[in-house]
C-alpha cells in the first residue's frame, strides 16, 4: 500500500477547514466579481457606443479600475493562495485533483493568460481605442474570465458528484458530472449579481456625473440582477443533482448545514427583493452605503453557499475516492491491521508533553485521522464532542464511527490505536495530568476489534448504496 505521510500542521483553535473555507470564500467572491464584471462591462460598452447611455463610458473607466485593483491583484493572488492552502490542508486531495485534471487546469491557465492581456490592454489603452477595439477587448476579457469558471467548475463539482468517472476513470466523465451544469449556470447568475452590486458602489464614487445620470446607470446595472429570478429554480436543480445524503443534510439533516444554507437563501432573497424594486421602479436610487450593504449581503450569501458546498462532501473530499482525512476507503482494511501511523515518519512536536507512549500514539492518531476537521479543544474540538462520553462509549462510537455519524469516515487504525485515541481524549479532558495509567487490557482490545469488524471498512454512503442495490435486487 502506497500511503503517503505528510507533516500535519496545527492551526491551534481554528479547524483546518475554516482556513481553507475563509480563503476560498474570499477568492470565489472576487473571482465571480471578475467574471460578472466582464459581462457587465460588455453591456455598458454597448450602451456607450450605441448612444443609449451618455454616462456609461465614464462608468466603464471607474469600474475597470476597481476590477483591476481588486480582482486582478487580490483575486489572482488568492487563487494561487487557494492552491497553497489546499496543500496545507490536504496535499493528497490536491495531488489527486492535479493528476486527474492537469490538462484542463492547464487549459484554464491559457484563459488566465488571455484574460490578463485583454484586461490590461483595456486598462492601459482604452482611452486611445476605437469603440470596436474596446468592445473586442472587453468581449475577449469576459469570455476568458467566464471560461476560467467553466473549467474550474468542472473540477470542483467533480469532487462532490464524480458521476460516471467512478466507473470509467475518464476525465470527461468526471468533468461533465451531474452537478456541472446547474453549478455553472448558478455561478454565472451569482457572478452577474455581484458585478451589478459592485457597480452600484462604483457609480456612487464617479466624479462629474449628476444624480440623474447615476440613477440611470444604477437602473441599467440593476437589469443585470434580473437573472436572480432564476435562482430558486437553479438552486432546486443543483440540489436535485447532488447525492441524496448530501441533500438531506442541507434540508434539515444537519442543523449547521441547514443554517448556512438558510443564510445563503435569506441573503439572496433580500438582494432579490431590492433588485425587483430597482428594476420595477426606474427612479430608485441606491447610495454608496446601501450598495455596500448589498455587496456585504452578497458576500454573506457566497460564504453560506460555499460553506455548504464544502460541507456536504463529508466524509469525502472526493466522493467515493478519498476521505476527508486523506485516506482512501480501500486502504482502511490494511490500516486496521498495520496501524495508521506506524509508518508516519513525522514525530510529534513537543513529544515530552505526553506521560506515556500510549498517549503519544493517541496524539498521533488524532493528528493523522481527526485533525483535518477537528481541533483538540477549539472549533469542533474533539474533547468537546466526545469528552462527556464514558470510555466504553468512546470505544464503541469511534469503532463504529460511520454508523455513529454518517458524515464521519470509518476509523482507519488498529484496536491499539483506537484505545490510544480514547485514552488521549480522556487524558486531555482531565486537564492533561503528568501521570496517566496505561490501558492494556486484552479484553478491551478484543472488544474494540469486534466492534471494528462489525462496523466494516466502508463509509456510510457506500453501505447505503449497497443496501439500496440489494433491496432493488
Amino acid at each position: 500500500m502506497d500511503l503517503p505521510h505528510y507533516p500535519i500542521n496545527d492551526f491551534g483553535p481554528v479547524m483546518n477547514g475554516m482556513v481553507i473555507g475563509g480563503m476560498g470564500i474570499f477568492h470565489v467572491f472576487l473571482a465571480q466579481f471578475a467574471i460578472g464584471g466582464g459581462l457587465l462591462m460588455c453591456y455598458f460598452q454597448w450602451l456607450a457606443q450605441t448612444g443609449r447611455s451618455s454616462a456609461a463610458r465614464r462608468f466603464l473607466d471607474g469600474y475597470f479600475k476597481a476590477l483591476v485593483l481588486i480582482s486582478f491583484v487580490v483575486g489572482a493572488l488568492t487563487g494561487v493562495g487557494m492552491w497553497f492552502t489546499t496543500i496545507q490542508i490536504s496535499p493528497r486531495t490536491i495531488g489527486m485533483m492535479v493528476d486527474e485534471f492537469h490538462w484542463l487546469w492547464a487549459t484554464e491557465w491559457t484563459f488566465f493568460c488571455l484574460e490578463i492581456v485583454a484586461g490590461y490592454a483595456f486598462y492601459r489603452y482604452a482611452a486611445q481605442l476605437t469603440d470596436r477595439a474596446r468592445v473586442t477587448l472587453l468581449v475577449l476579457y469576459s469570455a476568458a474570465a467566464w471560461m476560467s469558471l467553466f473549467w474550474i467548475n468542472g473540477i470542483l463539482s467533480w469532487q462532490l458528484t464524480p458521476g460516471h468517472w467512478v466507473e470509467t476513470g475518464r476525465v470527461w466523465s468526471g468533468f461533465f458530472n451531474p452537478s456541472f451544469w446547474p453549478s455553472l449556470v448558478f455561478r454565472t447568475v451569482v457572478s452577474m449579481t455581484i458585478a451589478a452590486l459592485v457597480a452600484c458602489v462604483v457609480i456612487n464614487t464617479l466624479n462629474g456625473v449628476d444624480r440623474e445620470a447615476r440613477t440611470e446607470l444604477i437602473h441599467r446595472a440593476f437589469l443585470f440582477l434580473s437573472g436572480m429570478a432564476l435562482m430558486p429554480f437553479l438552486g432546486i436543480w443543483y440540489l436535485s443533482s447532488i447525492p441524496e445524503d448530501s441533500r438531506s443534510w442541507v434540508l434539515g439533516g444537519s442543523p449547521t448545514m441547514t443554517l448556512f444554507m438558510s443564510i445563503a437563501i435569506g441573503a439572496s432573497l433580500l438582494i432579490g427583493v431590492y433588485a425587483a424594486a430597482g428594476i420595477l421602479r426606474k427612479r430608485l436610487y441606491i447610495n454608496a452605503v446601501s450598495a455596500g450593504m448589498l455587496v456585504a449581503l452578497a458576500f454573506g450569501a457566497t460564504a453560506g453557499g460555499e460553506f455548504v458546498r464544502e460541507g456536504v462532501r463529508k466524509p469525502f473530499t472526493i466522493r467515493h475516492t478519498l476521505l476527508a482525512n486523506s485516506i482512501r476507503p480501500e486502504e482502511i482494511a490494511a490500516l486496521r491491521e498495520t496501524g495508521s501511523v506506524t509508518n508516519d515518519p513525522f514525530p510529534l512536536p513537543h513529544a515530552e508533553r505526553y506521560p506515556t507512549e500510549q498517549l503519544a500514539l493517541g496524539a498521533k492518531v488524532f493528528r493523522f485521522q481527526c485533525s483535518v476537521c477537528h481541533t483538540e479543544n477549539g472549533a469542533n474540538g474533539l474533547t468537546h464532542l466526545a469528552g462527556t462520553w464514558t470510555p466504553d462509549q468512546k470505544r464503541l462510537n469511534i469503532a463504529k464511527l460511520q454508523h455513529t455519524k454518517p458524515f464521519m469516515p470509518p476509523f482507519a487504525g488498529n484496536p491499539q490505536e483506537l484505545e490510544a485515541l480514547v485514552q488521549w481524549i480522556e487524558w486531555f479532558d482531565s486537564g492533561r495530568p503528568g501521570d496517566w495509567p496505561v490501558s492494556a487490557d486484552d479484553r478491551t482490545l478484543e472488544q474494540i476489534k469486534r466492534w471494528l469488524d462489525e462496523a466494516g471498512t466502508e463509509p456510510a454512503q457506500q453501505l447505503a448504496q449497497r443496501s439500496a442495490a440489494s433491496v432493488h435486487e
Binding site: 503517503p4 505528510y6 507533516p7 500535519i8 485593483l69 491583484v73 487580490v74 489572482a76 493572488l77 488568492t78 494561487v80 493562495g81 492552491w83 497553497f84 492552502t85 496543500i87 496545507q88 496535499p91 490536491i94 492535479v98 493528476d99 486527474e100 485534471f101 492537469h102 490538462w103 484542463l104 487546469w105 492547464a106 487549459t107 491557465w109 491559457t110 484563459f111 488566465f112 493568460c113 488571455l114 490578463i116 492581456v117 485583454a118 490590461y120 490592454a121 492601459r124 489603452y125 482611452a127 486611445q128 481605442l129 476605437t130 477595439a133 473586442t136 477587448l137 475577449l140 476568458a144 476525465v171 470527461w172 515518519p345 513525522f346 514525530p347 510529534l348 512536536p349 513537543h350 513529544a351
Partner: protein, 368 residues
Amino acid sequence: MSDLFPFRFPFPTAMYLTLYVLTLVVHVLLMNYVLVGTAYLAVVSVFTGGPPVQRQKSPTALILRDWMPFALGATITAGVAPLLFIQILYKQSFYTANLLLFHRWMSIVPVLILGFYLLYILKSRSIGEWPAAVRALVGVGAFICIAFTGYSWTENHLLGGRAETWPGFYAAGRIVYFHPELLPRLAVWFFGAIPNGMAMISWQLRFQARRDGALPAREPRRAAVLSLTGLALAAAAGIGYFLAMDENARAAVTGAPVLPYLLIGLLALAAETAGWVLQLRATRIAGTSLGLITAGALVAVLCASVLREEIRLVRVDVQALYEQHARAAEVGGFWVFLLFLVVNAGLIGWCVRLVGRARKVDSTGTTS
C-alpha cells in the same frame, strides 16, 4: 543522445520535465524583469538625485513605474503553469516543503498582495506629492516584497530536496530553513536577473526612442554597466554556489546528461556579455547587439533551468515517481489544452495588434 536531459527518462516523466522547464523559463524571464525593475525603482526612490539628473524621472524609471504592476501580474500568471507541472513531477517533496514551512511559506500571498499595491502606488501620479521618505519607503517596500517571495521559493526548493531533514525540522517546530547553498543560490538568481531584466527594459527603451525621439545617452550605457556588473557578480556567485553544493550535485551539473547544456549556457552567457560590451560603447540602443543579448539571455535561462532541474533530480528519488507520472500522462485533455493554447495565443496576439494599431493612429496620446 539517450543520456541527454530529459531523454534518459521514460516518456511521461520526460514530457512533464520538458513542460515544466519550458513554462518555468517564461516565468523566470518575467520574474527577472520584475526583480530588476523593483530593485531599480527602490534605488531611484532612495537616491533620487537632483537637477539636472532626476533619476526618478529618467526614461527607465518612468517605463518601469508604468509597466511594473502588469509585469507582476503577468509573472504570477506565468507561474501558474510550472506550479501545476511541479505538482505532478515532485508531488511529495514539493508538498512536504510547503507544509514544513507553514506560515512562513503562506506569507508570500499577503506579501505579494502588498507588493502589488505598492507598485500601483508607485505608478500613481499622486505619489509625486508625498514626502521623500514615504516615497522611498514605498519603493524599497515593493522590492522587499518581491525579493522575499524569491527568497521563500529558494528556501522551499532547497528543503524539498532534503528528505532526511524533514522529520527533525518538523519535530523542532521550525518554519525557517537555512542551508549553505541558500545565499549563493539566491545571489546567482538575483545577479543573473540583472542582464536579463535590463535586456527587456532596453527593448522598451528602444521602442520608446523610436516613437518619441532620442534617449539620453546615459540610459543605454547605464543598462550596459549594470548588466555587465550583474554578469560578473552572477559568475562569482555561481562559483560560490558550486562550491557550496554537495558532491552529488556537483557531479550532476558537470555530468554527461547536462554537459551540453552547461557548455551552450556558457556560450550564451559569453554572447550576452559581448552584446552588453558592444552596447557599452554605443550612444543608442542598437537592434543587433540587443538581439544578441536577448538570444543569449533566452538560451542561458533555458540552460540554467535544465541544470537546476538536474540538481533536484539527484536529490529526489525520481525513479519511484515514474509510475505516478505514467498514470498522470494517461488522463485525457491534452488535445483540448493544445487547442486552446494555440487559439488563446492567437487571441493574445490579436489583442496586442489591436492596441498597437490604435497607438499608431494616435501616437500623441499618453498612457495612464
